[in-house]
């Protein structure tokens, strides 16, 4: 299927690119390899520093000398390794593939055909900026080992490569009969100038830093980490602190709990501050634009990242509104792409997040993405109230009854305390029920969930991969069902919806999949 494109109609456009000679990346890439190794060690955790600890423990009086020797050795090794990595890294652009040779000890040869390349992304680390070099990442649909980083190539060359790969991809997809795009939407989009969709000032990024859920994740981690260090709490410093606290605020319950609350808030404030700083660094100068059927994003203070995602690859738009964000009337958006779960784990390729926007923006964006749908602007259908009953009785009631029974048997009447648990859970379950909602307009659908915060997911029904209708005995009696829609890389569940609604969703989805011919990825 690649034969349709001859070398003749390729080479004139890219005379510099297409060649039989192996090319090298810039010598400055040595820095990149050094940094890569160091971050690798840091990510690998403390175990990679274990040799150092061993030296410290065994060498006694000479430990500083030994340590210095070790550091010097490591530095030399690192430099040699980085230089060799640079010398051994060669690439070549063939007629329909990228060829890469790399590796110091184990040599790697990789042929990445253009049709397999999913995405081309740029990064501009701060140490490359003086040289006007970038890191070009080629993401493939396959395994992560097939990802290629061309570290340290001049920006113009990177842009040529990106254009070339994308054009080349387009040609192959046109020659392939399966994916011929029936609409002329994309044709007209090509001539369309770049649409600037969003620029985020630092104030909005700060809002994102305050309101995203990372703060709570960090808080959890901090508490967990502090709990791990028994020694920390028993250390003389902490004891002194405790004594000091006892002397100054007294030992009354009120004073102590006030102090505890204050401390907690202090820690949360610090975490929030850290989160804000992080958000600003990562998203600095955030810019979202749209050209040629692709969304482009540039961001970053120390390392400029340029990512782009083809419109067709977006499986759904997630609109997350954590509690704090709702106080500020902001939401954080995510383009969910095919297999984004995998990329998330890689660290480098973070999710395509658009931080801190107002409802007007995401209404527009959703209309732009999903052929003018206005599902987001309508009231959603609520799920059935039996959801509350079911969770209170089965998820909380039965377990707490069991726990109460066992503990009463063992410790006496205090065990009955467990019976209160369902009552405590009730408002939360009720809140969760209220959050669940769903709506579709025959082509697109929106699903809402959440507890304190709120998550909306908008997606075109034809992008569904499979649809499952599940009914428990109780749901069968009440003509209710839970619907599970699997999208590429994510699945959505609507619990306790009317059976007739579930069936409508299923048949409309199947019908959409049958009739919509455009590629779903």
């Amino acid at each position: 299927m690649n034969k349709a494109v001859t070398p003749d109609n390729l080479t004139p456009a890219n005379p510099a690119l297409h060649s039989d000679k192996w090319r090298r990346i810039s010598p400055a890439s040595v820095i990149y390899f050094v940094m890569k190794f160091i971050t690798g060690v840091l990510r690998g955790g403390l175990q990679s520093v274990a040799p150092v600890a061993a030296v410290l423990a065994t060498t006694g009086d000479n430990r500083w000398f030994a340590l210095g020797l070790l550091a010097a050795g490591a530095a030399v090794l690192l430099m040699v390794g980085a230089v060799l990595s640079y010398l051994n890294f060669k690439f070549r652009v063939d007629r329909d593939a990228f060829l890469i040779r790399s590796g110091v000890l184990t040599r790697k040869r990789l042929t990445l055909t253009f049709e397999r390349i999913q995405n081309v992304a740029f990064r501009e680390p701060i140490y490359f900026r003086p040289f006007n070099l970038v890191v070009l990442t080629l993401e493939s649909a396959g395994s992560t080992s097939e990802e290629v980083n061309l570290a340290g190539i001049p920006r113009p060359l990177a842009e040529t490569i990106r254009r070339f790969v994308l054009e080349r991809k387009k040609e192959t997809s046109q020659t392939a009969p399966v994916n011929v795009e029936p609409s002329n939407e994309h044709r007209s989009a090509e001539s369309e100038p770049t649409a600037n969709l969003l620029r985020q000032p630092v104030s909005e990024l700060a809002r994102y830093g305050v309101s995203n859920n990372n703060v709570w994740v960090f808080a959890g981690l901090t508490v967990g980490a502090l709990g791990q260090f028994d020694k920390f709490w028993e250390s003389s410093v902490m004891r002194g602190m405790f004594d000091l606290v006892g002397e100054t605020v007294g030992t009354s319950l009120f004073a102590l709990s006030a102090l505890a609350v204050l401390l907690t808030f202090g820690v949360l404030l610090i975490l929030m501050f850290a989160s804000v700083v992080g958000a600003v660094i990562v998203n600095y100068n955030f810019h979202l634009s749209y050209t040629d059927g692709r969304y482009h994003r540039t961001r970053g203070l120390f390392e400029r990242q340029e990512t782009s995602v083809p419109e067709t690859k977006i499986q759904s738009l997630k609109i997350a509104q954590p509690v704090i964000a709702s106080l500020m009337n902001r939401s954080h958006l995510t383009f969910n792409q095919v297999g984004f779960e995998r990329k998330q784990n890689q660290g480098r390729h973070q999710k395509f997040i658009i931080p801190s926007v107002q409802s007007e923006f995401y209404h527009q964006l959703s209309r732009r993405l999903f052929s003018g749908t206005n599902v987001l602007e309508q009231d959603l259908t609520r799920i059935n109230g039996k959801f509350i009953f079911r969770h209170i009785v089965f998820s909380f009631g039965l377990p707490s009854l069991l726990a109460a029974g066992i503990s009463t048997y063992q410790w006496g009447w205090q065990g009955l305390f467990f019976l209160v648990v369902p009552l405590i859970a009730l408002p939360f379950v009720a809140l969760r029920k209220r959050r669940h909602g769903y709506l579709m307009d025959g082509e697109h659908a929106v699903v809402r969930s959440g507890l304190f915060g709120r998550n909306l997911t908008v997606f075109p029904l034809f992008k569904a991969q499979s649809i499952k209708i599940i009914q428990s005995p109780g749901q069968r009696k009440a003509e209710l069902a839970s619907l599970k829609i699997k999208l590429a890389g994510q699945s959505l569940t609507i619990p306790y919806m009317d059976l007739s609604d579930a069936r409508t969703w299923r048949s409309v989805s199947l019908q959409q999949i049958d009739t919509r011919t455009e590629p779903w990825m």
């Binding site: 994916n179 991969q465 209708i469 428990s472 059976l499 069936r503 048949s507 999949i513």
Partner: protein, 191 residues
């Protein structure tokens, strides 16, 4: 009630969907009952034999059990397990079934929590035909259908005779544009 989507030539009108526990689901091969029964018996036998062996080898042997008067309970438990060996496979067999349409595959499963999974052929990435040692004894196979939904198979149909399993596979693959047996799922998922 298990419901089903029933379409003529793919395009369905929403109202056409029957709400009955549909008899048009193809059932699995009867031999599947025997296979599940054998699996059940093997598992129970292994557990019982290990326990009996361990008790027999212990210093006191069976005496503590007999003395404690638990013998009737143990026997009742064994009786229950043997009855279950007859009932459970039949119930399981009855709970599963599939429907092939011109564009979709539907699969029902579950005894208490009943589910119907619908899979459009257009989204099938690859199909796997599997036959474990026990299945081979009964000449049965399991068909697994994968989409880009990730991870495990979206639909797993067990208890199919070899011939019909491969017939279904061919039928689905012809309509999906995916490749046989999914040796290279990545290639297919690309444009």
């Amino acid at each position: 009630m298990i419901d089903t989507v029933n379409e003529g030539n793919g395009v369905v009108a929403v109202d056409d969907l029957p709400v009955t526990s549909d008899p048009s689901f193809e059932q699995l091969d009867r031999v599947y009952v025997k296979m599940v029964m054998l699996t059940w018996i093997l598992v129970v036998l292994t557990i019982v034999l290990i326990n009996v062996g361990a008790t027999a080898l212990s210093d006191e042997g069976f005496e503590p059990i007999i003395d404690s008067g638990a013998t009737p309970f143990v026997l009742a438990g064994l009786f229950f397990l043997s009855v279950a060996a007859f009932v459970v496979p039949r119930v399981l067999w009855h709970s599963k079934g599939y429907q092939l349409h011109s564009h979709n595959l539907h699969y029902k499963d579950g005894v208490f929590w009943r589910a119907v999974t619908s899979l459009p052929f257009a989204r099938v990435q690859h199909v796997e035909l599997e036959s474990g040692p026990l299945e081979r004894i009964f000449k049965l196979a399991t068909l697994k259908f994968y989409t880009a939904g990730g991870g495990s198979a979206d639909i797993k149909i067990p208890g199919l005779p070899f011939a019909s399993a491969s017939k279904i596979r061919t039928y689905v693959l012809e309509r999906s544009g995916a490749k046989m047996s999914g040796t290279d799922p990545e290639k297919e998922s690309d444009e």
